[in-house]
Structures are given as C-alpha cells and as structure tokens.
C-alpha cells in the first residue's frame, strides 16, 4: 500500500516537473547546449568502458567486436607493470597529499600572521606563479637544473661541492625526490591561497576572546585556526583522495622527459594508459587499465565521503 502511494507521488512529481518544462522552456533551452556537451564529452565515454571487456576489431566496429570477459584485465594484472604503476600512483599521491597540505597550511598560517599587507600580497603573488605555467615549461625549468651537459647542478653546484656530475636522466633513485619537489613547487601556492581564504574568513572575536584568556600565538593556532579551517582541509583532502588513482600526466611524463630508463619510478596509471594506447596501440590493455583506475577512484571517493559523513555531516562532499 505504502509503496503504491510512493510510486504515485513520484509520478505526480514527474508530471509537475514536465509541466514546468513547458512553462520554463527558455531555461531548458538555455541549458541544453552545455548539457549536450557533457553528454558527449563525459557520458558517452562512460559507455565506452565496455571496450575493456572486448577484443576490439575495428573491422567489426566497437559494438560488433567479440566479448572476451575479463581477459584484458587478466593480461594487465599478469604483467609486473600493473604492480609498478599502482604502487607509483598511490605512493606519490599519498606523499603529495600529506606534504602539500602540510606545507600549504603552514604557509597560509604564516601569511595570515604577517602584519605588512604589502609583503603578504607580494608573497601570495610569487608563490602562485608556478601554478600558472604548463608542465611543458616546468620540464624546461627542470632541464635547466638537471641537464647532463649544461645543467646548473652538474656544471656549477656539484663541482663547487666537489661531487662528480650525475647523469640525472638515467638514474632512478633521484626521481622520487625530484618529482615530489616539483609537485610541491607547482601545487602548494594554489592550495595555500585556498587555506588562507578560509583563515581570513574566521571571525576575529574568537582570537580577541582567546587573547583575553591569555592564550599565546601557538595556542591560538592549534585551538582556533586549525579546528575552524578543518572543514576546508577535509574537503580538499577528500577531493585529493578521490583523485588518488589519477596522477598529473604532465608531471610524470614531461618532467622526466619521457625517459625509458626512469620508468620504474615514473610510470603511473595515466602514463601507462597513454603509452599503451598511443605508442603500442594496445587498446585492450590500456582500456582495462583506464577502467581499473576510474572504478577504484570512484569507490574511493564514495568510501571516503561516507567515512567523513559518519563523523561530521557538514564536512562531507555530498
């Protein structure tokens, strides 16, 4: 009985929305082109995930190709690549999330403490610069330091310290450090501004009350600032966790100059999918890796959001 009434309720709601479509058709028409673009650019490829379960044969077309079940995944997970790219993607991202959040917060708190507004503005402008340039340019900047023949490290810094030149682009052991440094350099400014905005938004009365109660700077930061910006930290971290199976393609492809020797420490799921598709033309393997990435990423957003919801509904993403 109850279910029937729910159904009729839903039907009635739908009918009333349909009546609104007629009345507000101008609004619907306005939104249509953009919604259509999302359909093509974002939704149609979602159906394309069937490719991962097929043996693609272009003569038969994508829909006409034979189903092969999980064979593509079996091939993928039998290779050592699967382990390496998963490990790299996860470890780098965890490091980036922790470091970038910590450094950005520290910088934001410091920027907020600076009394000279002019200096604070100047610092903000300069730390945001790296965020604005493309990874291609970043690749050039890194090359300026690490170029084996002409680079600043090999020609100037290492000789003055009495160390032999290092062939940076063929030694894997340095790259986890280099990539982490580049990620912090490029990303921290953006995150810092967001946290700074949250900190500036905090009502001054909290600090005044705390000062009267005798709280020192450090206590004010840990007892007022951090708790009050924690919603923003949670949201930014949630978004980052949702993207933990994705990596910045440019960072892992451009910055190491697509060097084969470095792949054990620079290959991530994104660069793997790209190489399997463009260089090898292996559609099966690359779409299996792509689906693995999208699916696990999706599960991770849902899970982490559910966890946050459980503790504090307001901090959740949805």
């Amino acid at each position: 009985m109850k279910q029937v009434s729910l159904k009729t309720k839903k039907k009635a709601a739908f009918a009333s929305e349909m009546r609104k479509v007629k009345k507000y058709r101008a609004l619907v028409l306005m939104a249509l082109p953009g919604l259509l673009y999302l359909l093509i650019n974002n939704y149609l490829p979602m159906f394309g995930i069937v490719i991962a379960f097929k043996d693609i044969n272009f003569a038969k077309g994508i829909m006409g190709s034979d189903w092969i079940g999980f064979k593509n995944f079996e091939y993928l997970f039998k290779t050592t690549d699967a382990y390496i790219i998963t490990r790299n993607t996860l470890l780098y991202n965890i490091t980036f999330i922790l470091l970038n959040t910590g450094i950005a917060l520290a910088l934001a708190i410091m920027l907020n403490e600076i009394r000279k507004r002019f200096l604070s503005r100047l610092y903000q402008t300069l730390i945001l610069l790296p965020f604005l340039i493309s990874m291609v340019i970043v690749g050039y900047l890194v090359l300026g330091f690490l170029d084996v023949e002409n680079g600043f490290m090999n020609k100037t810094l290492l000789p003055t310290m009495g160390i032999d030149p290092i062939s940076w682009y063929s030694e894997t052991k340095y790259w986890p450090w280099i990539l982490t440094l580049v990620s912090v350099w490029k990303g921290v400014g953006n995150l810092c501004i967001i946290y700074l905005a949250a900190i500036i938004g905090i009502d001054n009365e909290y600090y005044e009350a705390a000062t009267i109660d005798g709280a020192n700077r450090w206590q004010q930061i840990t007892k007022i600032t951090l708790p009050l910006v924690s919603p923003v930290i949670t949201i930014m971290t949630l978004l980052a966790i949702g993207r933990i199976f994705y990596s910045d393609f440019g960072l892992f492809f451009q910055v190491p100059l697509n060097t084969g020797a470095l792949m054990p420490v620079t290959n991530t799921i994104d660069t793997y999918v790209y190489r399997a598709l463009i260089n090898l033309g292996d559609i099966g393997m690359s779409s299996a890796a792509g689906l693995y990435q999208a699916f696990v990423g999706f599960i991770l957003v849902i899970l982490s959001n559910a966890v946050v919801r459980k503790y504090n509904k307001d901090n959740a993403l949805f």
Partner: protein, 296 residues
Amino acid sequence: MQASGKLYQWIINIVMLVFTFFCIMPFWLLFSASLTDDMELVRSGYAFFPDKISFSAYHYLWNSSSDIIRAYSITVLTTIIGTTLGLTLTAMVAYPLSRLEMPFRNTLAFYVFFTMLFNGGLVPTYLLYTNYFDLKNTMLALIIPGLLMNGFFIILMRTFFASSIPTAIIESAYIDGAREWKIFYRIVLPLSTPVLATVGLFYTILYWNDWFNGLIYLTDSHYYSLQNLLNRILLDVQFLQSSTQAGSRNADIGANIPLAPMRMAMAAIGVIPLLIAYPFFQKYFVKGLTIGAVKG
C-alpha cells in the same frame, strides 16, 4: 612582548622570503640561460649570472620563426575561441541551474556533479573523438575535447548566481515584460562580472597551457600550438635542429645555431606573455581560487 612580536615577524618574513625565492629561482635560471652566449654556455653551463650575455638565441628565433609564429597564432586563436565558447556554455548551464523554477533542477545538478566523480577514461574518449567525430589533426581537437566545460566551473558559477543575484530583480524584470533570455544577458550577466572574469581567467590559463590534446590528437605538426611545439622541442632536440634549418634555409647558419640557449629562449617566449599579464589579473585569480574553496 613588543620585542618578541618583532622577532616573530622577522622569522616569518624570512621563511616566506626563502620560500618565494625558491618559487621564482627556476624562472630566473631559464631567462639567464636563454641570454647566455653559446660558447660561454658550453664552458660553464646554465648559470644564474652568465659572464657573457648574448641575444643570439632570440635573434635566431626571430629569423627562423615561421613555425613559432604559426604556433603562437594557433595558441592565441584556440585560447580566444575556447574561452569565449566555454564561458558562454558554462554560464548558460549554470544560470538555469541556479533558478528554483528550473524543471528537474536536482536531477540536472546531479548530472553535472557526477561528471566530477566518474569518467570513461582516456581510451573511450580518444576513440570517440577520433573514430566518431573525426577530430584528429584538426584545430577543433585543441578546443573541444575535455577543456570546453567542466562540472567544477558550472558549480562555481551556479553558486555565485544563486547567492549574488537577488530573485526579486529577476521577478521584477519578469513583471516588466522581460523574458528569460533578456533577463539573462541584460540583468544577470552584467551583475556577474566578478565570476565571469574569474572563470574566464581559469579558461584562458587552461587553453594557453594545454598541450595534452595536441599530444594525443595531433600527429601532424601543422596545427601545433605553442605548447605542443615546445613539447616537441623539449623531448626531441633533433626536431629543433631540423625545423630551424628548414626555416633559415641555409646550412651554414644551421650549423652555428645556439641550440641550448635557443631551447631556453623558446620556453621563455612561452611564459613571458603570462608573466606580463599575471600582475593585472592576479586579483581575480586569487578571488577565483577563493570562491572555489566554498562548497557548491
């Protein structure tokens, strides 16, 4: 108290100075490297303070620049078209979604939001745009795939429209006889310049810096944007040599090209416009990042 306060300010300023120094140092190295004399560079490498300054790299770029000029114009063109089109489409979706009267409002809002959670990935997208839409090796490939609109911008703009445009204005315009489209472009858009400027800047940066679409959809260098050209030169020195030799049409000149400084000079002309424009729009950019922090 006063003295410790001063010391405290000093410490913070020193930490910030060190950090900002590291932020701009690589740019400095890039510019000084591009200005280093070729022979000097072979001897002492890229340096912050070159002993011998030379403009020869820029001179060569200027003389053999047909590739560069074409790439530059393609970048400017795609940036203008992409930004205008993307901004228009985004506003046209965001505004109706901000109106309470919009039919299927919540469903459509979720339709937009879901694109931020899940995607089909590179392979289906690539096959869609190459096999079904035939965008490979066209200029549209630099404009349409991925960049034209995204859920984040829509939500950012919708939040602005919903919170900053009073419904009373819309209602009174409606009573005065204005219809939806007119309300949109005569009332809502003029009142929304801050968010339009912000999202417009995001788009400009996005298109100006994009190299990924070019990397996957272009095999023919004819439609290379500046970033694609830079990318190719970065990954492939031979390409620089061959394209400059073809450009100067003179083997004698080709042999003496200052390749290493020239590489850096190429990158420099890729960032200079951005660095010049940045101080003027920095205010909007920071505002945009700040709005982005607010939950949609």
